[in-house]
Symmetry: D2
Subunit: 340 residues, 4 copies
Amino acid sequence: MKEIRVGIIGLGRMGRIHARNIAENVPSATLYAACHYNEEELERARKDLGVKETFKNYEDMISSPNIDAVVIVSPSSLHTKHIRLAMEKGLHVFCEKPIGLDVEDIKQTIEVINAHPNQAFQLGFMRRYDESYQYAKKMVDEGAIGELTLIRCYGIDPGSELESFVKFAADGKSGGLFADLSIHDIDLVRWISGMEVKHVWAIGKNAAYPVLDDLGELETGAAMMQLEDKTMALLVSGRNAAHGYHVETELIGTKGMLRVAQEPEKNLVTVFNEQGVTRPTFQTFPERFREAFLREMREFILCIKAGREPEVTAYDGLQSTIVAEACQKSIDTEQLINLN
Amino acid sequence: MKEIRVGIIGLGRMGRIHARNIAENVPSATLYAACHYNEEELERARKDLGVKETFKNYEDMISSPNIDAVVIVSPSSLHTKHIRLAMEKGLHVFCEKPIGLDVEDIKQTIEVINAHPNQAFQLGFMRRYDESYQYAKKMVDEGAIGELTLIRCYGIDPGSELESFVKFAADGKSGGLFADLSIHDIDLVRWISGMEVKHVWAIGKNAAYPVLDDLGELETGAAMMQLEDKTMALLVSGRNAAHGYHVETELIGTKGMLRVAQEPEKNLVTVFNEQGVTRPTFQTFPERFREAFLREMREFILCIKAGREPEVTAYDGLQSTIVAEACQKSIDTEQLINLN
Amino acid sequence: MKEIRVGIIGLGRMGRIHARNIAENVPSATLYAACHYNEEELERARKDLGVKETFKNYEDMISSPNIDAVVIVSPSSLHTKHIRLAMEKGLHVFCEKPIGLDVEDIKQTIEVINAHPNQAFQLGFMRRYDESYQYAKKMVDEGAIGELTLIRCYGIDPGSELESFVKFAADGKSGGLFADLSIHDIDLVRWISGMEVKHVWAIGKNAAYPVLDDLGELETGAAMMQLEDKTMALLVSGRNAAHGYHVETELIGTKGMLRVAQEPEKNLVTVFNEQGVTRPTFQTFPERFREAFLREMREFILCIKAGREPEVTAYDGLQSTIVAEACQKSIDTEQLINLN
Amino acid sequence: MKEIRVGIIGLGRMGRIHARNIAENVPSATLYAACHYNEEELERARKDLGVKETFKNYEDMISSPNIDAVVIVSPSSLHTKHIRLAMEKGLHVFCEKPIGLDVEDIKQTIEVINAHPNQAFQLGFMRRYDESYQYAKKMVDEGAIGELTLIRCYGIDPGSELESFVKFAADGKSGGLFADLSIHDIDLVRWISGMEVKHVWAIGKNAAYPVLDDLGELETGAAMMQLEDKTMALLVSGRNAAHGYHVETELIGTKGMLRVAQEPEKNLVTVFNEQGVTRPTFQTFPERFREAFLREMREFILCIKAGREPEVTAYDGLQSTIVAEACQKSIDTEQLINLN
């Protein structure tokens, strides 16, 4: 069993999750190198995670002869550049979502990826590796709910983080609610239905922080979509769930319905007290998708070793971005948007 | 305690529910008269329900000096006419939904109703009398979930009735999915938010019975609405729930969410068997709203006795019809519809 | 349709429930007479419920030529005497649980009841008329869960009433936890299994109010029983459920399990807020069993009219009392008790 | 970071779980050696898990100078002997439950363990490492449910395995339902309450396979226990859950109740189809406790590295065995059993 030596760029919240997974829990992988602007973080990587080589410059890291693959968790605006550079160095690439922020730029990046067919490229839509989603997808594929007619997706961040988001939003742009949060749901819609989006109308309301109106941001938004075969999709995206991190998906078919995480149950405990009967809930995405993050990374390493193409492609990243942009355009213009 | 003597027009499925409730379970009310085209049904009303006077002609019944109020459960197309005639005879009127099928006709009927301010008029939006909805409405009004931002309503009939609907639809028009089924949800949206609808986009898909495309009918439809204050509403309407009669309502606010009948649990039984852990579900609307039908009728009688105005007005019926029409127009034109 | 004229003895909390049901919601029944020691309560009965005759003395009431049936909601210690007197006056009798407090006394009362075979006698085990229990019982009878092996019953009163119980207990004896609360569960075990209890061991613990040890009372108790055919029964009884009124029943069979009210869900609302995902709960027995109280009374009237024998017999009351006594004896002696 | 090299004895169903966890998912541990009677299984361990040394004889393996610790997953009857031999060789020991089958033998083994205080010993009560149980235990310890009054534990194996158990039971003795299955629940009762058991009464019923009566085995059993401080415990153990692997625990305190896995929900999916609303369920213990098995092994390695004593001690194994024996004695004698 050959070990795959991995270099990671970015050791922020998300980067540290991937780094630890690779270092401790991904068979056949070694976290060999890390790149970050902050020396303290690099020191921690060396001490806690056994990283051998650390860098402050990305190009230096990918020039190391000791790594086989790179995991990109840099700021979203650098993703496409980092992908292209790594591809050109002959490395396998795992990139966190989104693949990029600009459709043309993503298209050029896809050309570079396609020019290196022997190198694996995988995009971080980790929900596809969540066991509950996989269970639901399998049921759909086996016809257990008949033909799909409607998909409903909720992606609502915990309200506890809304106040700090408002401050953050004041400084610049988050990319907008749909590009930032709904992108996972857009991927789910495409993955589960196997269809592309044709028409979109999106609306939103700022009620807890009306100041977001001035910032061009949304606290809560909704988008309705019509897919190629008339399947319907309803997306609710938000930053203000009082009870935690609410990611829920519903699949309505001609023979039944499935709901994934109808209630964001944190564990198997039920509490009976003065409040009534309560299920504690997930509060953050790392908690909810802990296993999925691990499993997507294992899959990436397995793909490299087996010479297989990862399932989540750069094209998936492109299409999701196009739909998220259409949602934002609908918000901005208050019009129904048609995608070709 | 003066007894209110009630005459009923229409002894079909819905009419029989109202008739039995009045005859047996509404204090201070007597089911005195009944009007139906079928003599057998009238005979049953005399024998089983103790009805004193029966009629084949509506105008004859409302001319009887022995009745104080009329309950209209005739075909929808006759509602406005029957309301006007009864109002002019000085009777209190309870009318099943919808109040009518044509906006102008409804407006004229409202004028007649307004001309008789001492006679009670109540429309049969019985969900407002369901205990779970009242509990939720009270929480909203008390601010328990902060400011409302989104309302999601599902109204899906059991799939067991779809085949017969397809046959029925072939013969003529049902009024369309939104006028027929969503009208209750449209009333809920208006009742709970206290806001009117401004913009609507509606889509649909026929998957189990593609023949419905030709008939201009929908198996499953979805509508997204923006209300006056930007509150969002998502409506899913359908005729094909495999598990029964699925009426679910969700209220998202800045401080919490409420779901009414997230799962259409028939009773308090949970079954553990080879299928997993299962809750049996309501199969029909009379089962789900048994108590609500009873309570709306009791409220109607109490309003008459107390000289109070019923809460569900003819105007509520008009506004709901306007929105349902807009949904249908959106389906027909594939456009976003603006309401003034 | 002949009206059955009913006299009621006892207008306390439970008595008022039955009185209002008879007066307003039981077809073919009229609440004609009422007996209570308090004149104000009688005045209220005349005004609110339309009662025609009121009495301070029970024997006077049952001597009235105007009543057909009596509903006994007097103190438990008077039940047997009141039953016998009414039986001897030729009246039909509905008696709240328990039928009595002393086994020999109950046996003599049963002889009197048996001597009047044309008069209906029904005991107030209203749970048998709860729709969820009836649904579960039907499934058991149809073999849906195979052969019964274990029954688990929880009957736990809301903790909000515990403090006042402690004061009440200090004054005298409640009859003990098992006779007072578990008697309903004992009846359920017998009803559902069709078997009698053979062996009992009961234990208890006073943790919130250790003073109950001195009073010979229990805050929480548990009893394990072996039935004739080795079916097992586990009973938990208590006075301290923080979340409300927790009555739960579980039936384990060779082919599946059923739970009735696994969680005491008050309605169909689910709340999502900082506490997590919560279902509001029933707080009191009149709330939980509102419909069951109504349906048992309707059944009593139907039995009288049809000359049918009510299903819940005096013998059921006797057997439940014998088992409750055995539980108490086990607590007192710390021994396993064998019943013959 | 020093690697702990582990040798494992036993590569059956349970052994393979531990072996794979150590080989792939336990940081700082290497699965260095394996001992099994079957050469094919050893070959698989070398190829799939990278095991360096394989043995057919246990004493040979523990004599290898290359291992630091041993994981014992041999037949239960050999556990105590294998523990003693490994302790005497200076190895750290992890032993699957039960620690042994005979109380005296276990006591002697504990003496050997105590004579080697610098070697870690951990018993495989993995439920203590399940996140839901840890969450519940923490709530109890923090006083969230007040003082404990009652613990209810269900441990019911899937009915799909009952038929093969009947065949297996015919060949010899399983150790009995309580020693075989309830032992985990007995440990939970002791762990959560911090109390020992004083009195036990146990009963059982064979309904699906009455032949088990002749074999001295139980399909379903129940035990009621009184702990030192009068806290009550109810245990239901069985081999016939139609819906899967049902392990449920309830903690009743003076201020609230907790349930762990009230329903054995396999994942976050809810299915709505003709059966009603269904949650799929866990079918096997490796599925339910996958993470717990992993976490207990990680803890074992961490204890070795830190020189800490594992929390699950040999004494815990002894006490659980004593209680399980008392349950069996109660079944055999039909008496209440007192433990000193």
